[in-house]
Symmetry: C2
Subunit: 203 residues, 2 copies
């Protein structure tokens, strides 16, 4: 595939999916810059750009974040999700939460500054930026995933990363080169969830 | 600019910004399909894909949504934002909320099915899809904006669109061809909001 085709918006969107197993290949600052640059071009409520990114490479900190993720999954996530996910997806998430995410060479901890932006608009102001980051990662061949599980331990994350009270952790995005090629995302056709004029009127 | 360059992920990300004034040019179903297709490729918690899109073209319904937006802005938004926005942005949002959004030929009302996905994960599961939709619109030359103001009147939106109790309106995205060329988004450099290992350590 040509470089232009690989980074076409629609090609990237169709290819983007969660990566939960990473190669040891290092990720340099210069590799991360376009991801962070893309993230900051997302819209935000009142254009307040309330995002703060903590880039974690330190092995001990990543291990600690990995451990919090594992605990969140084992205490709250797995038993709940067992009833709700296919066995394949459950196994993939299980592996990611217990070891894969910790193995990423970089953790981007995405936070919201609730002095700069309003707390009520954290979701609408931070997740679009994260989506830009995931797409940019996909475009350059990096793997990534949107995980919010770890934020169940926000007090512990705060301490690990010296976050002040007005900076709230929203997600941990592991970034690294994928350990193996990722398949296409599994999605239902949009027409099944699109309605004409009123809910329930078929597209 | 060549077609390939125009739809390059990074070019689209850098170009995407809120459009609040639309031309009368009609938007066909075929123009909307790639936007909705892109939206449904976003990640969601447990891959539950809880999105539901109501595509509104009916003039009376759009006028009603426009009126709710105007009321939300005049009752809650404007007085609050006056202290917080630059005069230029305030004027732009004011015009959008009072007439521009209503003038878009299509309103995509993005909802979350909280039977399918968990209510606690609505933000992380719906805003990435909306961001994909905005980027896809930008790629094909359509204007759009992420607006959540109208959801202050969720009971009224429910009635207008026959939304059942388990389907929650999250945002109204006006879509149409821009009335005039949009400038670049105004953003602070990412390095100002990026930290190395711990909050406060410069990038």
């Amino acid at each position: 595939m040509s470089e232009a085709k690989r980074s076409d918006l629609f090609a990237v969107v169709n290819r983007q999916r969660a990566c939960r197993e990473f190669a040891d290949t290092p990720v340099r600052d210069a590799d991360l810059a376009p991801l962070l640059e893309a993230a900051t071009h997302a819209p935000s409520a009142e254009n307040k750009q309330p995002w703060e990114f903590v880039i974690v490479r330190d092995a001990a900190t990543r291990a600690a974040i990995g451990e919090l993720t594992r605990q969140a999954w084992e205490l709250h996530g797995r038993a709940f999700s067992e009833q709700r996910l296919t066995p394949e997806l459950l196994a993939e998430v299980d592996k990611g939460a217990t070891s894969g995410i910790a193995g990423a060479p970089v953790h981007v901890v995405v936070c919201a500054d609730i002095d700069r932006g309003l707390e009520a608009t954290v979701g609408s102001s931070i997740f679009p930026a994260i989506q830009n980051l995931l797409l940019a990662a996909t475009a350059v061949g990096l793997g990534s995933a949107l995980t919010t599980l770890t934020t169940a331990f926000s007090a512990e994350l705060r301490e690990l990363l010296s976050l002040p009270a007005h900076v709230v952790p929203v997600a941990v995005v592991p970034v690294g080169y994928p350990a193996h090629e990722l398949g296409r995302p599994r999605r239902e056709p949009f027409a099944e969830h699109t309605h004409r004029e009123q809910y329930g009127k078929a597209w």
